[in-house]
């Protein structure tokens, strides 16, 4: 599954992986904003942005083909609107939609495949995002692996049961069975939450999360952010003035 692959990639070792999560977050946000606000001769500029991302991916030793393919998950959604734009006689708009949505997705994918999510969340906390929300995200991500495995077992069981009684029209009993399965999954999730809570209390939790990891914003991180600024501003300036 997608998140398992990204999680594995994010635990690699490279000059990009070693950068502080905050530096990478800031660089990615700048990239996204530059992309969102770019408008002239987008094809050429788009190639420039693409080149930047590919360079980062090579530096991070990510599997290039696989990463490029994974970012294509946005394309089905975009394609619908691109086709509509084409039909409305706006081929340039259609192309801009495809390019921008793909490059944005790729940028976020590069961030997440070079920064483990927990580390990213830590960085965001230092950047002022409410801790409560980030803790919920952290638990969501941790138990996504557990609960979705349980859901897979249930789906397999449901399929095994219903394979023999296919019906073309609406089948009320199957609908009810799916609802029942989700009811059970809900109850199990609730039980997990109770168990986690007990385990936390058993290890002395007193209503406040303390964490181990620290972040050091090194000179290399500052250089990284500066490089991103120069690169993006330069690309922008180049596009505005010469193209």
């Amino acid at each position: 599954m997608h998140h398992v692959v990204l999680d594995r990639w994010s635990r690699g070792a490279s000059v990009i992986h070693r950068r502080d999560a905050r530096a990478k977050t800031v660089a990615t946000l700048m990239f996204l904003v530059a992309l969102a606000t770019a408008h002239r001769s987008f094809l050429t500029v788009g190639l420039g942005y693409f080149a930047i991302l590919v360079a980062v991916m090579i530096a991070a030793r990510l599997p290039l083909g696989a990463a490029l393919a994974r970012a294509a998950v946005v394309l089905p959604f975009t394609a619908v609107f691109a086709v509509i734009s084409l039909a409305a006689g706006e081929p340039l708009a259609a192309m801009a939609l495809v390019e921008k949505s793909y490059l944005s997705a790729l940028a976020v994918l590069v961030l997440l495949s070079t920064t483990p999510l927990p580390e990213l969340l830590h960085g965001l906390e230092h950047m002022g995002v409410p801790r409560y929300l980030l803790m919920v995200v952290q638990f969501l991500y941790r138990y996504l692996f557990v609960i979705s495995e349980e859901a897979q077992h249930m789906r397999a069981a449901a399929q095994a049961k219903s394979a023999s009684m296919r019906r073309v029209l609406f089948d009320r009993s199957k609908f009810g069975a799916a609802a029942g399965a989700l009811g059970v999954l809900f109850a199990r999730s609730y039980a997990h939450a109770d168990g986690i809570h007990q385990a936390m209390l058993a290890r002395g939790f007193q209503d406040r999360f303390r964490t181990l990891s620290r972040h050091a914003f090194r000179r290399a991180d500052a250089v990284f952010v500066m490089a991103a600024v120069v690169l993006l501003a330069g690309a922008r300036f180049f596009a505005e003035v010469w193209i």
Binding site: R142, I196, A199, L201, R203, G204, Q206, T211, L212
Partner: protein, 240 residues
């Protein structure tokens, strides 16, 4: 000698009216490992949750000489470590090292000290090499060891293990038993696995309807309550 755990006349009733504990008496002494047997629903888990104040019923529970009450909870929870059945619920932090350091950080240790303790605990259970991994990537046996490390990092005097061998494959079970046998703490072992109890425990109690129906050596209790798997009589057709 003063008992490490002393439970006297404990009663507990759930909100829906189910009586889970009905006048329970239990003691655990230094150096002991006590196996807790009993059918599902006989009150074993409810009993365990009383030992560190996750549930409170009527009666007296004391741990290391301290009565278990609001004031003493923090100290009690340091002294008595619960290893729950489902390791996934116990390993809730994003990485192994952060999870093992969770307890020490709650004890008020600073980060360096908590990290040092976590590393030591991981070493003790032979899991130092996974410290940077996410719990999701571990096998069931590895998860259980890390969960135990999370408890050991708090330096408890008593370990309470709830069905430690479930979900483990046979080699994993053997490795876990070796580890538990090596740990010096007094242990309460809640289990259906009689072989595990035979290896580790020097005493057993049998729970029935929220009280202790009998106690003695592991073999005595197993024999008295017929608590062993009996060989099935198989028909000739199923054997072929």
């Amino acid at each position: 000698m003063e008992p490490l755990v002393d439970v006297r006349d404990l009663h507990f009733q759930y909100d829906d009216g189910t009586v889970a504990l009905d006048g329970l008496n239990f003691r655990l002494f230094h150096g002991e490992t006590v196996a807790v047997f009993g059918a599902n629903g006989s009150g074993k888990t409810t009993f365990v949750l009383h030992l560190n104040g996750l549930l409170t019923g009527q009666g007296a529970v004391s741990v290391c000489g301290m009565p278990v009450e609001r004031k003493t909870l923090a100290r009690v929870r340091q002294k008595i470590g619960l290893v729950f059945q489902d390791s996934d619920n116990q390993l809730f932090m994003p990485t192994v090292i952060e999870d093992v350091a969770f307890g020490p950080l709650n004890l008020g240790l600073d980060r360096d000290e908590a990290q040092a303790r976590a590393h030591a605990a991981l070493d003790e259970v032979g899991m130092a090499h996974v410290s940077g991994k996410a719990p999701y990537h571990l096998s069931a046996g590895e998860k259980k060891r890390v969960a135990i490390a999370g408890i050991l990092a708090m330096r408890p005097e008593i370990l309470v293990l709830d069905e430690p061998t479930t979900f483990l494959d046979p080699p994993g079970q053997t490795a876990l038993l070796e580890l538990l046998d090596r740990l010096p703490q007094a242990k309460i072992l809640v289990t259906h696995d009689v072989d595990c109890a035979r290896v580790l425990a020097n005493r057993a109690v049998f729970f029935d309807k929220g009280r202790i129906a009998g106690e003695g050596s592991v073999e005595e209790v197993i024999a008295r309550f017929h608590w062993d798997r009996t060989p099935l009589k198989r028909s000739a057709s199923s054997r072929s």
